[in-house]
Amino acid sequence: MLADAFEALKKFDWGTDLSVLSPIDDAAVTAHGDPAVSQELENRLLAALKESLSRDAHDYACRKLMIVGTVASVPSLAGQLGNKEQSHMARYALERINVPEAGVALREALGTVSGSQKIGVISSLGSRRDAAAVAPLGKLLQTDDPAVARAAALALGTIGTAESAAVLQAALPSANGDKQIVIDGLLVCAETLLAADKHAEAKAIYQSLAGEQQPRLVRLAATRGLLACARA
């Protein structure tokens, strides 16, 4: 049954009846609490990814790897990060596979991918709240590409540690072009810290942004943040 489903996956595309893949869905459910099934499914999925799959079939396989993937899946997924068609779903799986190697792969990809794939990798590092990515992301704040700098600032904000806050604060005076990019990152960082009950750290950020020299909307956001800190 499972073998038939994987055969069907090779021909699967938009508009194909999804029920042909239901044995894989069932196996993904059974894999929860059954390491043997999980490993077999991961192996089959990785083998499928080596085939020439349609984009929809690739999406499907990555969604299942997000559930059963381990360190063994990282090299295959990492190899897809620079591929325009496959990068998004590879990151979808890597963001959620809870092994340090996934973070390493994403960090290494920072130096190898470009354009929208790079922005995606930065965003995934933020979503993983990868503390080890703070330094490389901090360097990207100074890049000439505003989209990359913005993604880095927001990722640092989402990571939401004292270290990421310090990197953002340090980048503020020397930010290339639009300082607002870094300010947005700081506001996200403060919200993340507040949500983690780190009120003092969050308050420090908000206070730094509440001054009269800041644009009106930044002061407003900072003021609201300070009130939220005081209430918490």
Partner: protein, 466 residues
Amino acid sequence: MALRFWRGGLVLGLAFVFATAVASAADTQTDEFVQTIVKLIGEHDKEFRAAGLEQVRTAARGPAVTELFVAQLPKLDAGGQIALLDALADRGDRAARTGVLNLIGASPDENVRAAAILSLGKLGTPEDVPLLVKSLAAPTKAEQAAARRSLIEMPGESINQTVAADLLSASPDVHGALIEVLATRRASDQVPALLGATLDDNVRVRRAAMAALGQLGHPDQIAKMLPGVLKARKGYERDAAEKDVAQVCERIENPDQRGAALIEALSTVDAGQRDQLLSLLGRVGGKKLIEFVAAIATGDDAGRRQLGIDALSKWPDASVADTLSTIATKAGDPAERAQAFRGFVKVAAARDNRSDKERLERLKQAMKIAKTPEEVSLVINRVRTAYDVDSVRFVLPYVDQPEFAQLACETIVEIAHHREVRDPNKAEVDKALDKVIATSKDPVVVERANRYKRGETWQRPGRVSR
């Protein structure tokens, strides 16, 4: 032993010092928080002010802080005062009441006074009812509306009684407004006061009282409402009063018992006045009343016959259709016949629980006994209440008769408006609409016919789409 006691005392002492320090730090933090809110309340930038007002609504609880917020009121411009009053009302701390009352007395700005009056609905006490009643007669509509809403919203069991006690001493306008307040508060405990007001000499007071009783009245009070119907002037006021009584009758679940309850109530009225209440019987309807009213509508007294036919014409459903049809067929007096015919067509077209085909059959029956062009027109016009393709077939031949053509065209587009009629019969309805387009002189009718042919809808002017 002494050492243990000494150590215990030291621990307790340190704990006290630590707790005091923590409390002091917390107080300082709270003070800072409150001062931030106060600063924001005074901001001219509306969004910064809103950030502060959000905290007034939900945070930093306690009467002392509330009083601090209230103390800001005199320092603000009118817009700021209105916004803070609204926030204080949402905060719901009655410690703000005195400051609000001061503002009502002192502010030269009518909108500020109105906002202060409005906030009393949440912050006031029963002692404030006289002030709110007085404000119902305030010079501006904003203050009047605010007072009314506050009286409606103010919680407390004694409020209804206090408001009702003010009814008799109030001016007619205020009297009417107070009755509406009691109705909205669902003050069923004050029905006796409302019944008294149904006999007031002022039409607004009477109307408000009957409307309130329509909403709050119990079937046991139907007899007590009848003098109010009789007191109402004929025309709009009388019609509305009858509908109010009919509304109370509808609270009797069994339709047959409604008629019985009304007849019983009528027995409490002078015989001479009962005929004036016949149309009320018509509004209530029910099988038990048909025979009673039909006997009057076909009796010897011409004046009573007219009242009886009028009552049958107001029946809420078509159960009296045969009775009216018989009267229309047999009546010797042309005026009486015309009255019965109109009533027959009206009840035949009623959108009651009959099917559209049954409704159309009744209207076909009416067409058979129609004698004048006006009566034919009346039937063609009402066929639009039967949403069925057979209605289109029935009216279509009249499009060829110049005298009825325009009305028939209007009726056809009205029926075609209903998608459930036109879609399953598209070819046939389109053909009828083509005839309408070729015949009608009314551009709106022609436009509607074209739209329905294209499968589009049409929005009646003045209606707002949801």
